[in-house]
């Protein structure tokens, strides 16, 4: 996944934020993410870590301050206006809230027709077949076409939003917390639908979530974001055998359904520990919370001064972490006899 030549979409050294001048807010710092064709890149992290900002950058809605977004290896800034619009159609966003992302006054049919034919060049009935096909692909009945969004449940609305994203036959779908506003049982349906669509249509996903269980289930690759920087990257193995202390903390702070272990017992993520994204700590941004850092090891003063770079940990180049003292288990497993 580190090779940009096989990736369909990638962010290279991207820094981004909102606003300009003295009131500007920097959110992402030198982020590198490469999305393999046909794979699912999970972006995980706490709220405020910059997950949604990264989605905005990848979809082309937010221009990075530094760094480039590459589509099939080509810097999107080099594209002409026309090419850039065509490129945008190849990448579609499915936003988080299925309630605010559908116009309450437009029938499903009109919503989809607008996605297929935004300028209204063709007659109203011309898209009927395609609309039925789209609804079928998200397992909705054709009779849904005439109805208004309020007649649907959250899960059904999310299916409509997915159908709208599929309307332009995209290659990459960026799913931003698509299941976080849904009930658990409905979540599972939507996740199955997305997996099914990935197989049938050969889609590539960028899957943004704060739910590690979902990330592990859905994704082939993972990037862990902390305060706007990627601190660990690799296959989903990242979650089972973390190399970065923060990933380990994330993993351990998952509530255990058996009730035997609580996040607090695992030295978990108390919110008062979380740093201000607008004003990140010096050195390694995670060092004030790190259980292996200068808080517990006096000799590791380096963490508070020198920001670690995201470096390959394994000869297979399947794991990268931004840590001066990565957890050894990962490396030893692969190198050992």
């Amino acid at each position: 996944m580190t090779h940009t030549d096989e990736s369909v979409l990638s962010a290279v050294g991207v820094s981004a934020g909102y606003g300009s001048g003295p009131r500007s807010r920097s959110v992402l710092h030198d982020v590198n993410v490469a999305v393999r064709r046909g794979g699912t890149m999970g972006i995980v992290g706490e709220s405020g870590s910059g997950k949604s900002t990264l989605a905005q950058v990848l979809v082309g809605r937010l221009t990075p301050i530094r760094g480039v977004v590459r589509l099939d290896g080509t810097d999107v800034r080099r594209l002409s206006r026309r090419e850039r619009f065509a490129a945008r159609r190849r990448i579609q966003l499915v936003p988080q809230d299925p309630y605010s992302s559908l116009d309450p006054r437009m029938s499903v049919e009109r919503t989809l027709a607008e996605a297929i034919d935004p300028r209204g060049r063709l007659r109203a009935g011309a898209h009927r077949e395609r609309i039925t096909e789209l609804l079928e692909s998200v397992a909705l009945d054709g009779s849904a076409a005439k109805r208004l969004p309020h007649e649907f449940s959250g899960g059904q609305r999310q299916r409509i939003v997915i159908a709208r994203a599929l309307a332009v036959r995209p290659e990459v779908i960026i799913a931003d917390e698509v299941t976080s506003s849904l009930d658990t049982s409905v979540q599972a349906e939507i996740l199955e639908l997305l997996l099914d669509l990935r197989e049938r249509l050969g889609l590539t996903y960028v899957f943004i979530t704060h739910d590690l269980a979902i990330a592990q289930y859905m994704c082939t690759d993972l990037s862990v974001l902390y305060l706007g920087t990627v601190i660990e990257q690799g296959t989903t193995d990242v979650l089972t055998r973390p190399a970065h202390p923060y990933t380990e903390l994330l993993r351990d702070s998952r509530p255990d359904p058996s009730g035997r272990s609580t996040p607090a017992a695992a030295g978990g993520l108390a919110t008062e520990d979380a740093a201000d994204p607008a004003n990140p700590p010096s050195g390694c941004v995670f060092h004030p919370r790190c259980r292996y850092g200068p808080r517990t090891h006096e000799d590791r003063t380096r963490c508070a001064v020198e920001p670690p770079i995201l470096a390959d940990l394994l000869p297979s180049r399947e794991r990268r972490a931004a840590c001066h003292y990565p957890i050894k288990a990962v490396i030893q497993d692969e190198e050992g006899p």
Binding site: P104, E114, S143, E151
Partner: protein
Amino acid sequence: MATTAAGAPAVRRGLARRVAGSPWAGYLARRLGGVVAVLAFLIVVTFMIVRWVPGDPARQIVGLTAGEEQVRQVRERLGLTEPLWRQFGTYLRGLAHGDLGTSFTTGQPVSSMLSQRLPLTVELAMSALVIVLVVAIPLGTAVGVAQQRGRARVATSSFGVGASVIGAMPEYIAGTVLVYVFALTLRWLPVQGGSGPTAMILPALSIAIAPAAVLTRLVRNETAAVLSQDYITMAMSKRLSNTRLLLRHVVPNVVTSTLTLGGLILVALLGGTVVAENVFNMPGAGAEIVHAIVRRDYPEVQGIILVLGLVAVLINLIVDVTLGLLDPRVLTGARS
């Protein structure tokens, strides 16, 4: 909601079939029930209030110098010596036959007085409503768009203050200022009297100005709120033109709430006509009600209030039905 899915497409065609067996039946029944209740309340309360106001209609008619005997005779002739419940019964029987009673002072039927005076009041209120809509909808949308896109920051942020000040201005102050500027100083329009559209401009403006400010602010807020929804961002990413975006996504969503307040504003405009007709000396129902109250002309006061109340209730009913047509969510109360 899965249960409504099967029958829904078939029921879509034709208003009549739509009403039967659809949320419309319940919705209309509730609204009509409300209309009847409001009118009944209005009839009883007006009847009581005019009689509770101190003063004697008979004394008003015969004058201060007349003797007690004369007053007593007039009271008897007007039926005011009868017990209250019997007076009310007579009034109700009249109403049932469409008879609003006879004026104490002129001896004319109240209905013929209304047929002379009501058209002017309605014309005034409608002119004012047109002014309100023509100003509020485009201006509110424009300010909302500018605000949402961070343009013209000084203008958009001072807009709220300006709208509050203008929105709080009573009709008689607005009317006086307008007369001073346009009639007395600039001499563009007549002070009062006259005929045709020029005579209507100042009175209509004086009652339209405050509601226009209030509605403009509402349209601005609604526009800004709609523009911040995800579906607008999604629509913009499809490179819809600005006009298309406004007409297809923004205006239909703004219109619902605008209409709700629009009905209330029209009702308020009817009230405003009372002040405007007196300030501008216009012979409408609004001016007449003040005279009728001063003269304790019970049938006239009751008649005017009842008819204006009926108009107000009907306006609200029309608004409710229109809302139901535009936005089926209101039928079941499913609006988020």
